[in-house]
């Protein structure tokens, strides 16, 4: 550890390089994966277009306004899924014992797991998500101010951090419950679906839980309101749209704490 930080960075770069080489070794498979990953996000957007084929407004929002919400959610989720999404495979790492090997190396466990399995095929999806976001913002007729120009960049970044935190926090469940299976999906993919529509669509305690209990309203709905200059039909003040980065930081802190507690609790399965 003579050169400390530089050596650590070099080790991470080696992990990432090995991944990139192995994933692109089979060119046809890689190309198919790139196309397939665009498809998933494209269908999410297509679904919204089909729904607006039979209705003129959804929860009080027009197609153009809803597309800002969808674009923000799609762009941020795709990027978070690219960077952190593969942590959802941690039940396999626990079951096969790979996590033990990771823990004995002199590098952080979380960055190792992320870089060992960075799914480069999902790059296409993140790029597509960004294209949807840019198109939606450009066609929404936003009344531009310096503040909104800043929010257009900050909001997706905050949403990426938020979704990343959800990925990590839900993955820690498998330290306690190895067979938790799809459970994490209900918050990760469920969160993506929830944030694809204005929260006025949902009702009752379900909205209260997902939107404000878990904080998903700050991912796309409130930033979109602030960008569009619309008052919240549910009555929250306008500045809430600017709280998104703060909420993301809190979420990241909670996820980091959950990860630390989870790793300390981890007992190898012995396999």
């Amino acid at each position: 550890m003579a050169d400390g930080r530089g050596g650590t960075l070099r080790a991470y770069r080696a992990l990432l390089g090995a991944q990139a080489r192995s994933q692109t070794a089979y060119r046809t498979s890689f190309a198919v994966d790139l196309v397939g990953n665009v498809g998933a996000t494209a269908f999410d957007v297509l679904t919204v277009l089909v729904l607006f084929g039979v209705t003129r407004e959804l929860g009080g929002f027009t197609l153009r306004e809803t597309l800002v919400v969808v674009g923000l959610s799609a762009c941020a989720f795709a990027t978070a899924d690219l960077l952190v999404g593969n942590i959802e495979r941690i039940p396999q790492y626990v079951r096969t014992g790979l996590l033990d090997a990771v823990l004995v190396r002199p590098l952080g466990a979380l960055p190792q797991l992320l870089l060992m399995d960075l799914p480069l095929r999902k790059v296409s999806r993140a790029v597509f998500g960004l294209a949807v976001w840019v198109t939606a913002v450009a066609s929404a007729g936003i009344d531009w101010t310096p503040g909104r120009a800043l929010l257009v960049v900050l909001a997706p970044l905050a949403a990426v951090v938020f979704f990343g935190s959800i990925f990590v926090a839900t993955a820690t469940v498998s330290f306690y419950w190895v067979e938790s299976g799809q459970l994490a999906n209900s918050l990760t993919y469920g969160g993506r679906d929830f944030t694809s529509y204005p929260v006025t669509v949902y009702g009752g305690w379900f909205r209260a839980l997902f939107a404000y209990g878990l904080g998903f309203a700050f991912v796309s709905y409130h930033p979109a309101l602030a960008l569009l200059g619309r008052a919240d039909p549910l009555g929250l003040p306008a500045w809430v749209g600017w709280a998104a980065p703060g909420v993301a930081v809190v979420a990241a802190a909670l996820a980091a704490a959950a990860w630390r507690v989870g790793i300390r609790h981890y007992r190898s399965t012995g396999s």
Partner: protein
Amino acid sequence: MEGSGVGSLNATVAPFTTSNVIPWFRTFWALAASGFRRYSTYRQATVAGIVTNTVFGFLRCYVLLAVAGAAGTAGGYDRPQLATFVWVGQGLLTVVLLWGWTELADRIRTGDVTADLLRPVHPVTAYLATDLGRAGHAALARLLPPVVVAPFFFDLYLPTRWPTVLLFAGSATAAVVICFACRYLVNATAYWLADVRGPLVLWTLGSGVLCGLYFPLRFLPEWLYQALWIATPFPSLLQTPLDVLVERDPAPVQVALVAVQAGWVVVLLAACRWVQRRAERRLAVQGG
């Protein structure tokens, strides 16, 4: 050595199985029962799956009810019909098992499939029997819970004509067989391709959007959904049983929709057997 498969030129020993009907049914039943037992051992995964289906039930139901909006109808469905469509759809999703079945492709890749070919039951029949057993377990463990939970939070539509219940049972069973046949065909591409991810990705994307899971296909223009219904098996996987259950159409149309499914069952099972026969002629498994 007749019927044992050893020394036979054909990998599958078909004649032995079709000579007597009663043992055939007994074998089929035993395989189905083993499929049921196998899936009933994954209890924790079942609980986690139910929670996930229920969350998505809430999400999709609220969105479709918002589409119905003030008018109260969308695509010819009223609010209770839309709610039933979503919630039963969430349960049915795991009964037909749209995604996540790569067992056959894995066995072809590793060469384990030779063991299936040596058995005195046709592989398509054996896998179908196991899958029906799995579907039986899913109908109890994965279809019932969301349907029991939903009425506490949403107004659901109950069928008003008694034959609908029978038609739904038939339609759901046909959907399981059609979905199995589609999955079998997608998996069987492993006989020809070294990597089946391409066909799997196409199947996952196509089936999700074209079977009516993301939105009822009746939200599409009429010419488009009718073309999909006739030309592709996808609407028969989920949309048909759900439309039958919520009585979207008068009785004669319900029967016609199930008849289309029956057509797909025959065509696709025949296709599975044909593909299997072609594959066995070229299959070369490395020894070792």
